[in-house]
Symmetry: C2
Subunit: 201 residues, 2 copies
DNA sequence: ACGGTTACAATGCACCTGCATGGTAACCGG
DNA sequence: CCGGTTACCATGCAGGTGCATTGTAACCGT
């Protein structure tokens, strides 16, 4: 077993280059030569780690999705310390609204991939909306937050959670396109959460 | 003035070919030769009507946006006959949820273009979210619908309208990607409208 | 020390791309 | 009938693409 190198680190570096290129010029600007140049390596190295271009971008996208999920989970853990369900709910929804540079990159990348996902089911599958567990978790938060506000329980927690995430992703698209600032998006999301947690008459 | 042909009709035909190709294989699959083949004409004809590939796709996208706007307006006019503000509100939000084949095509196309818009400000500008007039109009509908339900007026009509459209576009993305059926999306949207129109306690 | 495996690097190749060019046929005003 | 404009079509070209191939240097186990 000669010439031991850290494959994970190499692939990560290449995926990072794919991210940069995609954010800067769309997925169609991702070519083997450009990725190599961006990563500061030779094209042969890219070929050595990925059999085909499709493999390369698929791995890069998969890594981005994992990074985004990790951000949401980190948000939950960070807010979890406070215990207040409403705070946790807000914080974990904020997670996809790109409050920092890295988040904005991931958001832009996701939207860029959306275009490809329309015609590529494999991509569409990777970008599937919040899984069932996340939806249930969020629904629980909403129920708890309503209770904490003294509002009566409603049976629509799951739908309400679904709406929250869909709205958040919609806002995320606007942020990625520069149509909204992250703060403005956050304000809209806050307003919606207020509406959801306020009991109907 | 010899050889009179209908330019508008020719361009429309070519734009239609661009739509089909984009929906089927993404924007990057739109090449001059493929567009010509799809439209059943020679590549020279495509070049005759568009100076550059960028012009071609820009025109095709602009036509799609106009078609979508026309759909929304048509929805408003159709529902306007009933007079009931809540009905009009629902109908015009449904308009982007692709209940028929043509709507689904337009929706898919829009999402495909989203990817390009991340790195192309010109595209992003064309896809700008609902203009101010539409937002004001929708806010008016919400206020009227609330009044019709006997709910007290709130000052947040514009934000509520913003949320409605953002949620609708988010649902539209899911529909375009096949993650939701149009009916399921409609149900979610209905639920949200109910929440918005119900007065808080 | 050395054979074998790994990790690249360099280059070549067939294909496809947008766009430029030159030719041709149709048509219409005079 | 005819000069001029329009509407193409066919082809050529330089450049870029993904991928295959070949070469080479480094390293490890034995």
């Amino acid at each position: 077993m000669p010439k031991v190198v850290d494959h994970e680190e190499r692939r990560g570096r290449l995926a990072e280059a794919v991210w940069s290129l995609t954010v800067r010029g769309g997925l169609e600007s991702v070519t083997l030569r450009r990725v190599a140049a961006e990563a500061g390596v030779s094209m042969g190295q890219v070929q050595h780690y990925y059999a085909t271009r499709a493999d390369l971008v698929a791995d890069a996208v998969a890594r981005a999705v994992r990074a985004l999920d990790a951000r949401i989970e980190a948000s939950i853990r960070a807010a979890g310390a406070e215990g207040d369900p409403e705070t946790i709910l807000r914080k974990c929804l904020y997670a996809i609204l790109a409050r920092d540079e890295e988040g904005l990159r991931l958001l832009r990348l996701s939207v860029a991939v959306l275009g490809q996902a329309v015609s590529d089911p494999a991509m569409a599958a990777v970008l599937a909306p919040g899984d069932d567990a996340l939806l249930s978790f969020t629904a629980g938060l909403i129920a708890a937050a309503r209770a904490a506000r003294g509002a009566p329980a409603r049976g629509d927690d799951r739908v309400a959670a679904d709406i929250c995430w869909t709205l958040a992703t919609g806002l995320g698209v606007d942020v990625a396109l520069g149509h909204r600032s992250p703060d403005a998006a956050k304000a809209v999301l806050d307003h919606h959460i207020d509406t959801v947690l306020t009991q109907p008459g």
